[in-house]
Amino acid sequence: MKDIYLLIPAHDEEVGIEAAMASVEAQTKRPTRRIVVSDNSTDRTVELARARTGWEVWETVDNTGKKGGALNQAWARLEPALSGSDYIVTMDADTILDERFVEAAFAKYEQAIARGRTLGGVCANFSGLQLDTALGVLQMMEYARAEKINRSRGGLAPVLAGAATMFSVEALRSVSRMRGHLYEPVLTEDYELSIALRVNGYTTMAPRTCKARTDLMPTVGMLWAQRLRWYRGAFECLRSHGFKRGTRADIGWLAFSLWAAASRWLFLVALTATVLTIGHMAFSPWLLLLFAFASGIRMVQVRDLGWKYVLLAGVMVEELYYAFFLEAALWRSFYLAFFGRTAGNW
C-alpha cells in the first residue's frame, strides 16, 4: 500500500486557503491524509481550515524558519510513520491543483519504478490565476514558455517548485539522513532541496500531465521582489553546493543567461554610442531576418494561450521591456548574492 500525504504550509492565508483545499478535495486520486500546517497565522487561516471535513490542522511550535521551518516540523512529526514507498505532496496555500495532479504524479512514479529509474520529485507545470493586466499577460507568457522548456528537456525540471510537488519519501529520507532535516534556511528552499535530491542521484521532473495554477504578481514592485528572491536564492544555492553532479547544468545555464542579459544591455549602449558618434545606424538585412525569426519562435512558444498572446509575442515590444526588467533583476540578484553585505533572509 502506497500512501500519499498532502501538506499545505500556510501563514495568514485566509484569502486563498479554501480554494486551495477545495482543489485538493476535487482530486481524482485522493491523498491518504490532508494536513494544513499553519505557521504563526494571526488571521482566520486555522479557523477556515478546521471548518472543512477530512483535514488535519497542525500548528507550528516556536518556528522561526517560515515555510521551510514549518515543513521541517511536519516532516519530523510524520517521518517515523512513513514507509519508503509513500509519497508526500507539498503545495502552497495560493495554488490551485489541477484535479488530476496527484493521479498524474503518482502515475509518473509508477512508470519510473517500472523503468528502474530513481525519481525524486514530480512538480507541476504552472499557469497563472486570472490577472487582467499587461503585467499578468506577460507573466502568463513567461509561464507558458517555461512549460515549453520543460518539454524540450523531456520533462526534466531544474526546480521542484514548492507551489506543487509530489516527493518520494525514500528520496526525502536520503536528504534528511544527510543533514538531519529537509529544508535549509535559504531564500529558495524548494530549489535547494531540488539540488540536494539531484546530488543524491534522484531525477526531478515536471511532466506535461501535471498542472497547477498559481498567483501572479499584481504590481511591478512585487514582481521585482519575487524575482530578486528567486534569482538571488538560485545563485546562493549554487554557490553553496559548488560545481558538481546536480548543479553543473544549472550553473552553465545561469552563466549563459547572465551573458545574454549583459549582451542585450551592451547592445543598446553600443547602438546609442554609434548613433551619437556617427549620426546614423544601418542594420544588415540578415540581422533583421534574424530578429524576425526570433519573433516567430516567441510566437510559437505561446501558441497554446491563444491568438491574442501570439500577436503580442510577435510584436515583441512589450515583451522586450519585460525581458529587460527580468534581466536587470537577474544581474541585481547576482550582485546581491556575491557582493551583498546583508545575508538573504529566509
Binding site: 511532466p207 549563459f256 549582451s263 549602449v269 534574424l290 525569426f293 553585505r341
Partner: protein, 53 residues
Amino acid sequence: MQPNAPTVFISTAILGVGAVAVIGWSVVWTVFAVTLLVTTLVAIHRSIPRKER
C-alpha cells in the same frame, strides 16, 4: 574588502571603453551578432518538445 555597486559599475565601464578602444567596433558588433545567433539557436532547441523520460 568587498567592492560596492559604484566601483563595480565604474570598473565595468572602464573595461568596456578599453576593450572597444583596443579591439574596435567591428569586433564588438561581431560578438553581439554571435550572441544573438547562439541565443536564437538555444531558443529553437528549447522550443522543440522531446519524448518525456
